[in-house]
Subunit: 287 residues, 2 copies
């Protein structure tokens, strides 16, 4: 496995693989890898003949009051995990390699970035879309793997790729959970042991919502009220609970199309998100 720091090195490595007729898979990450990332890498490994994992804590997607500086950086552990999963190449650039001068060019996806996490994180999805465009141009993969855990990110990137005709396929993989249901996240390590126990309420609230939908309830306000009650009863602070169209991320009053149930909470000072997809035909849940 190669550990590469420069754009030129990774382009050369991918070009060599391409000359051998290989299919290139990219798993973009911010490092601090966990089993969720592991599942993306395994999927890429199964689908592609050359797997690149990018590890880059992208400054342009953090707000001024967010956790950019304290975001976990665990490159040694990440490298061992990638090696064990058969990754061909890690691309771990410095910020100066990705942003050698002031960046003037930004990619924005309208409408879909206004609500959900976009409401409390202005500029976040602009930073995400822009760095993904950069990574896609650097690696030029055939397939890119994202986790459903970051549902809005996945939907925004899918739309960007469609709207701008990026010549690649986006594959969104299911959320990986701890035994008790907590969605894997690099930020879970911020939780105290008591907060860790509280945090499971996000998953439990989504399971409760699934049960209500199975019982025929389609009013999103009723579903949201129930989710809100489960979470606040657990002593966790709700930032938002939304039920939106799964493709466009626009709010729905009742379940008339494939839907995304998405929520963000604060457990202590740690911000956690989770979500569930509801497909209508045939009725199916992805959680």
């Amino acid at each position: 496995m190669q550990l590469l720091k420069t754009i030129k090195e990774v382009r050369d490595a991918v070009a060599a693989a391409r000359r051998q007729g290989k299919i290139i898979g990219l798993v973009p990450t911010m490092g601090a890898l966990h089993a969720g990332h592991g599942s993306l890498i395994q999927k890429a490994r199964a689908d592609c003949s050359f797997v690149v994992v990018s590890i880059f804590v992208n400054p342009t997607q953090f707000g001024p009051t967010e956790d950019f500086n304290k975001y976990p950086r665990t490159l040694d552990t990440d490298t061992r995990l990638c090696e064990s999963l058969g990754v061909d190449c890690i691309f771990a650039p410095l910020a100066e390699e990705m942003y050698p001068q002031r960046n003037l060019t930004w990619v924005d996806v309208e409408q879909m970035t206004k609500g959900l996490c976009g409401a409390s994180r202005p500029g976040h999805f602009q930073g995400v879309a822009t760095v993904c465009a950069k990574l896609f141009h650097i690696v030029q993969p055939d397939r890119v793997y994202f986790g459903q855990k970051d549902a809005q990110q996945a939907a925004v990137i899918c739309r960007m790729v469609t709207d701008l005709n990026f010549p690649m396929e986006i594959i969104v993989c299911p959320t990986v959970r701890e035994r008790d249901g907590l969605a894997m996240s690099s930020r879970n390590r911020y939780l105290s042991s008591e907060q860790r126990k509280q945090a499971v309420c996000l998953y439990q609230a989504l399971c409760g919502c699934r049960k209500m939908v199975e019982q025929g309830i389609i009013s999103t306000s009723q579903l949201i009220a129930q989710i809100n009650q489960v979470i606040t009863t657990a002593g966790v602070q709700v930032e938002y609970i939304s039920i939106v169209d799964a493709q466009t991320l626009q709010p729905m009053t009742s379940l008339t199309a494939d839907a995304l149930v998405a929520l963000a909470c604060r457990v202590g000072t740690t911000r956690l998100i989770d979500n569930m997809l509801i497909f209508l035909n045939p009725p199916r849940f992805q959680i």
Copy 2:
């Protein structure tokens, strides 16, 4: 020569050329081809082994009061010119092919799009940058050819390609002029014969500016005043005359770095632009 209308067809044609080891050149145009476009095509033909000319009057770069509907469309003549210049493939999509649904994703280049033509054409460069990103992803060329005539467009696209790491080279070719110096433009055909005579004042004003710089004048306000006088004396209405840093397009008070002298005028209702580059070391002009 192939005349292709769909994204799939042009991707297949380029992929076939790529498999033969060919170097792909793209000349993006809005059609109504003239000798200026011809020079871009000839340069691409000399540099590349597979030349694609795109012809697409992009609706998203026209303002609501601009000339989108009356912009000249001359596909038959354009096709003959391309054929005669040895083009391999014309890509001439319908708007529905390029924008099959409402476009939500936009590429913006900050700062550089605020002044010059950006001031009177809000949204224009967002439309240009976005459609170029789309065309670059569809054709995936090695080299793309733009004319210096549209100086701000060329600078904006160069910056976009650098900032977003597009894997291609942008080549900016000199402005091609009529015998009397008028810059070639698809919009010249809007001019009456009297307006056509007036229009040469843009070129003459730039030549006068060159002479003043050769004489050692480096104050941009002095240079601009002289240009303004030449143009207004010819009875032509000035929209802007600016002298800016050639890379960043930020205004300069004196010629202390490579500069772009750019101007836009109205001859009757027809909007014409022209420009001159001033290089300092060694002293050189490109007009």
